[in-house]
Symmetry: C2
Subunit: 315 residues, 2 copies
């Protein structure tokens, strides 16, 4: 590899609010790199400290490896700073995970957010350890920062405290943190208690848990809803020690509750489509389907009542 | 495309015992096309009517799209007849599923065995219908025969009777059958009762259900254990109407029960490694791990007691 192989223990660590960036598609369902990079810049200017493209909310598991690679190139080549990017690089196939993770490192990304291989279910901690060890050693680059993506409600596999401990011991400095989307704050608390002081940054997977997470030593949140409400979530992140924190938490919770009434990804895309005045934004790849118009109208009305704004998104 | 686009309503339909072929790896975990094609020929000569490479047991979800494509090329170029191949072509990403399925059709395969996209879980029948409709229409070839792979215990998504009915109505002739690995014969029976007389061939996903499946109008079985015991399973398939059928069923059940005591895929590979006198066969990709030697020895002893033989596999 031509890139420097020096470590970057002094690089700033990711903190704050990250959006798992929605992926726009053309009408023929091909990914739209131009709309994506424009939207990435908007998110960074409106509350996101960094971005996690190719997450669950990005429909990344509905994209081929080549599509994920070329979208990453598209946004970085278009000026989105790679040190503010935490792309999803997890995959079921070892070879795919290695390829995507090596690419993220080569492009200078702040880290790689990795789902465990999620097809096979009767997998032991030994098997997951072996998978991550192979990825880290095959990528073989001291700049790599792996963030573990724990999402049992969808992946149906995940990371135990013992597995994280073993990975941290084997690859200190490389294993850098976690996104906990378990929906179970007791699990987040266990991870925070075990590892937050060991340089392992725990992000909650929903802003519902942001205040609790920060009080427990967390690093921020990586949340679907940050695609449409990052400015308010960021206000909570910045003010978590202040007397207004509970009120700010209640405000972002209300928006989240409204968004969650509809199917999440088609709903978020419908919100962006409306605020961008750009109907193309609403396309979703199968297995998702477009939001029925009655459900979309109800969602947009709820959010208008909550005064959700996405300034300057049109253009 | 250069291939003929004529239909093949007169092509023989798949029936009998199919193995979801184990995928051999080199010590560096790269796939071994040479060992695979040799093994495919052995299976076809020892009880398998046809082969389903790139299934769950093949660790196909641990292979990249390129690896699956080049292994398919390797076995066909090495003389394995494509009209006896039902490769797995399902994938989470629409673009991957289209690419793999189109490749199978171009290479003249008898059909394509398709998992539904299995990452996202809150997916409606509408969404799965949309996915399969896109694949079938993008492949756009009258030779395509899609076999639906129903495996909820692992995929955590699947095909309802209503979804199958809708797909059959929209794509008669193309939607050709199902592998039912639900482990629930009541589900298999519902599929058989609804569709077996409509030219929809239901294969049970385990030989445990082979006799019941044949009595209900099924077409055979596609079973992990066919990798090591196809000859006996084929005897049951051929004799299912005979007085010996129950006894033959009990014999294959005993082998299956012995095999199921160990983790399935590492166990099957250990059996092949022993009978082929080829330790390289035992390699598994992560997230699987090699079978501990004590467990391997116990498995092999159990099978020796049951007189499991794999003649002519050495060489």
């Amino acid at each position: 590899m031509s890139e420097s192989t020096s470590g970057r223990g002094d690089a700033p660590r990711l903190r704050g609010v990250l959006a798992p960036v929605l992926t726009p598609f053309h009408a023929d369902l091909s990914p739209d790199g131009r709309r994506l990079s424009r939207y990435c810049r908007w998110l960074l200017a409106h509350g996101c400290a960094a971005l996690a493209p190719f997450g669950t909310t990005s429909e990344a598991n509905s994209l081929s490896v080549e599509e994920r690679e070329s979208l990453l190139d598209a946004i970085i080549d278009d000026g989105v700073p790679p040190d503010r990017l935490l792309p999803g690089t997890g995959a079921c196939a070892l070879t795919d995970a290695v390829r995507l993770t090596a690419k993220a490192v080569r492009r200078g990304c702040a880290g790689a957010l990795m789902l465990p291989p999620f097809y096979y279910k009767a997998v032991s901690d030994d098997g997951f350890f072996r998978f991550f060890a192979e990825v880290i050693e095959r990528v073989g680059d001291a700049r790599l920062r792996v963030y573990l993506y724990h999402f049992p409600p969808v992946a149906h596999v995940g990371f135990s405290v013992k597995l994280v401990e073993r990975l941290l011991r084997a690859y200190p400095g490389t294993v850098a943190g976690m996104k906990d989307s378990s929906g179970d704050f007791a699990n987040t608390k266990a991870m925070l208690d075990a590892f937050a002081t060991a340089g392992f940054d725990v992000f909650v997977g929903s802003e519902r848990f942001l205040l609790a997470g920060m009080r427990g030593g967390g690093a921020g949140c990586i949340s679907a809803t940050a695609n449409v409400n990052a400015a308010a979530i960021d206000r909570l992140f910045r003010a978590w020690r202040s007397p207004e924190a509970e009120e700010l938490q209640a405000e972002v919770d209300a928006v989240r509750a409204a968004v969650e009434k509809a199917p999440l990804i088609p709903g978020l895309k419908a919100i962006v489509a409306q605020h961008a005045a750009d109907p193309e934004w609403a396309h979703v790849r199968p297995p998702f389907v477009d939001l029925p118009s009655a459900q979309r109208d109800a969602l947009l009305a709820d959010l208008a009542a909550l005064k959700l704004a996405m300034p300057d998104l049109r253009g």
